[in-house]
Amino acid sequence: MAKSLRIIPEKCTGCMQCELACSWVQTGMFQPSRSLIRVNIFDEQASYAPYTCFQCDEAWCMTACPVNAISIDADTGAKVVGDANCVGCGLCTIACPFGTVFYNPDTQKAFKCDLCDGNPACAVACPTGAIEYTESESADWLGGWAEKVNESYLTSIEGGNAA
């Protein structure tokens, strides 16, 4: 079984420690605009959702890359951008259906979560256990979550109409 990043939004307080930690890895500064994990805050719903690449099996970023700059790390299974090959065309950022591959204007290359070589800084930094790096059957935890969110959204709309 491989390890994967699991995010439990119910535990997130929106503190941004994951963004700070990730940006430190990327730039050596505290610079959330360069973080590869992003926390979305939905105030009216009291929902805070960290969001990053979950290393999906389809990996459209790899498929889209015209210069084969994205490869799979043998140890972690992470899809990793090779800086030496990346030409900064940005196709992978468009191909990713989850919006978790980014273009870095400083380096003029694509960058995405590489699981920090097996010790993700975001999971280490999270003070509430909302981000875990754990063994799991499938990295595809996001599907189940999306379904759940969708369900509760539909319920809330129906509930709203009834009221």
């Binding site: 503190c15 420690q17 610079q31 360069r34 009291a46 805070y48 003070p127």
Partner: protein, 615 residues
């Protein structure tokens, strides 16, 4: 020179001329005043005449971050609004968390200095180097939440962070707040009215830069050490996370120190109904953290169906179906206990409206409490108030929240704050505060040290300038007897100075429940690359306290203002565990002046100022 923490740049916007300029930070001042509250006080002291009209164009507003702001040190979210308070006419230092302070730092600025008055309603838009003054004519009249939505939309960037005023600030309500991230406020002393007087509706910031650290290795180890201590401490690791600041309601009530019915008594019947515990059991939907905070004391609550229609609110019924932040302890006290109200739903509604309309719930609640005493003693009539203002009326609270923000009917009297309001109705003795600012949630008759802290607080009565509740009630770091005056002068000075230092660093004062300057010192040193010892950091705080004091002297304040209302000095608490107590300020104040190195009139001596480098 420093290679971390500070960005080294100040942004200055003159609203009168429209001139926008960037200038290098004075690094000598940065070293000796650190940042935030301290550095801003230094600039304000240098640049503005303290006698100027608080609501005139000569007042300046400084929005200041500290060197720790925007780092991953826990509670690194803070920024300070330093200006002449519209409520107090004293220097004020209003602190807020959320995301705005870090975003200003990421945009490349330690501080924003706002001067003058815009000819038409305007807002400032900052996106890294690109700074503009934009028209806000279409925003005038909008609530905080509407403004937040519209300005973010106009910026075209999802991550833009907005701080703004609501109708209360536009209407120059004396206790109007500046609110960022919809629910985080630089709340007290009327900083929102100052912003309103400048025709400045909002400041939007997007920053893509970073905060560098001078000594990363040292910083990371000190940062983790402080975080672990915060987790292990029962207050920062458990109490605040589980119940928010309102965990204090039952503790302070049982101590006989919860001012009730405008400080007439010091215990509220049914206080548990508005406690953090009850909130957690019945209305809490999430804990929310400010940027970088590992404590997460913020509460998010939501009214269930049956409670949504309680109390009359004329506008925006949609708001009662969504999650809103609060209530926190101070708000629960001011609009709750001080008004004799123990209905949590009334507090949730009134608190949300204060955020939405941009108003300080402490001064508003305390002013309403004074109005209720005016009403119950017959000093104001039903005709004047427009509705019954009895202690305990949630209906009156919710209705008056809206009326005060819009200055409608009797709300126009409330909007002046309780000092001006009680004077107008010939009952100045009903004003419960210092330097024009209403007390926060601790009865100074029951906690002697808080009386000294309130009386000498530079920005008027405030719980965040020397929180001796920690030793006197909570036993942090060591238990002191709240009923004695001995030793209180000394502890008050230490707490005031240490608090100035925390406020200058960019960190949140709440972390001092669990840690102190010993933990902050190595982080600050590692972030800035400048060596500070703990005694030097305390001296930074003392320097800040004294420069604020000198600013106030120039504004016309003297030692005679270091006092408390007659009720606290002469009317004993009538009942409960603290029955018979008054505040014995006279036993503490002379000793305090002496320890401060001030003369008998409360003026800093030349020797003291020279030793602090302020002569």
């Amino acid at each position: 020179m420093s290679n971390g923490g500070w960005t080294g740049t100040i942004l200055r916007v003159d609203l009168t001329t429209g001139r926008i300029s960037k200038e290098p930070l004075n690094m000598d001042w940065a070293k000796s005043f650190v940042g935030g509250r301290g550095l801003a006080a230094r600039y304000l002291y240098e640049e503005m005449d303290p006698a100027a009209d608080a609501l005139g164009p000569d007042n300046k507003m400084i929005f200041a971050t500290g060197p720790m702001t925007g780092t991953n040190a826990s509670t690194s979210s803070r920024y300070m609004v330093v200006t002449k308070g519209a409520l107090t006419n004293a220097i004020t230092t209003s602190n807020s968390g959320g995301h705005w302070g870090p975003e200003l730092k990421f945009a490349g600025y330690d501080m924003l200095i706002v001067e003058g008055r815009a000819p038409v309603p305007s807002y400032i838009s900052i996106c890294d180097d690109d700074v503009r003054i934009c028209s806000a004519e279409h925003l005038w009249g909008k609530t905080v939440w509407e403004t937040d939505d519209i300005v973010r939309e106009e910026s075209g960037q999802h991550d833009t962070v907005v701080t703004c005023i609501g109708p209360a600030g536009e209407n120059l309500v004396r206790f109007a707040a500046i609110v960022n991230d919809r629910h985080r406020a630089a709340g007290r002393s009327g900083v929102g009215a100052v912003m309103g007087s400048k025709n400045l509706k909002a400041i939007a910031v997007r920053g893509t830069g970073g905060v560098p650290i001078a000594d990363p290795q040292k910083f990371m180890s000190a940062m983790w050490e402080m975080k672990s201590k915060l987790v292990e401490h029962p207050v920062t690791g458990e109490g605040l996370a589980a119940y928010g600041t309102a965990v204090l309601v039952n503790i302070i009530n049982e101590s006989g120190a919860l001012p009730t019915n405008n400080h007439q008594v010091s215990q509220l019947e049914g206080a548990d109904n508005i406690s953090g515990e009850t909130l957690a059991d019945t209305r809490l939907v999430a804990n929310k953290a400010c940027f970088g905070c590992t404590i997460a004391c913020g509460r998010v609550s939501q009214l269930p169906g049956e409670a949504q229609d309680k109390f009359t609110v004329t506008t925006r019924p949609h708001n009662w179906k969504i999650a809103v932040e609060g209530p926190e302890y101070e708000n629960a006290w001011a609009m709750g206990a001080d008004c004799g109200i123990n209905d949590l739903d009334a507090l949730i509604k009134a608190n949300a409206m204060c955020n939405e309309l941009g108003m300080d719930p402490i001064s508003f609640g305390a002013t309403l409490a004074a109005a209720m005493e005016l009403y119950e003693t017959g000093a104001v009539s039903d005709e004047q108030t427009g509705m019954p203002l009895n202690f305990g009326s949630g209906e009156a609270l919710v209705a008056m929240t809206e009326k005060a923000a819009y200055r409608e009917g009797f709300g126009d009297e409330l909007a002046e704050g309780s000092k001006r309001m009680t004077a107008k109705f010939n009952r100045p003795e009903f004003f419960m505060g210092v330097r024009g600012q209403e007390f926060p949630a601790y009865d100074a008759r029951a906690i002697q040290g808080m009386g000294l802290g309130y009386a000498t607080s530079n920005r008027g009565a405030c719980h965040l300038k020397s929180y001796t509740v920690a030793p006197e009630i909570l036993g942090i770091p060591e238990k002191m007897d709240p009923a004695v005056t001995e030793g209180k002068a000394e502890i008050t000075k230490i707490f005031q100075d240490a608090t100035c230092t925390v406020d200058a660093s960019g960190l949140c004062l709440f972390l001092t429940f669990g840690v102190g300057l010993d933990e902050i010192q190595p982080q600050l040193e590692a972030v800035t690359g400048i060596s500070y010892t703990v005694p030097e950091l305390l001296e930074v705080g003392e320097r800040v306290w004294n420069i604020e004091r000198m600013w106030n002297q120039r504004a016309g304040f003297t030692g005679k203002d270091d006092t408390l209302p007659k009720r606290l000095l002469e009317e004993p608490i009538p009942d409960g565990p603290t029955k018979g107590e008054v505040n014995r300020l006279g036993e503490m104040l002379p000793e305090y002046y002496e320890i401060r190195g001030w003369n008998a009139e409360g003026e800093p001596t030349k020797e003291k100022l020279a030793s602090l480098g302020l002569a």
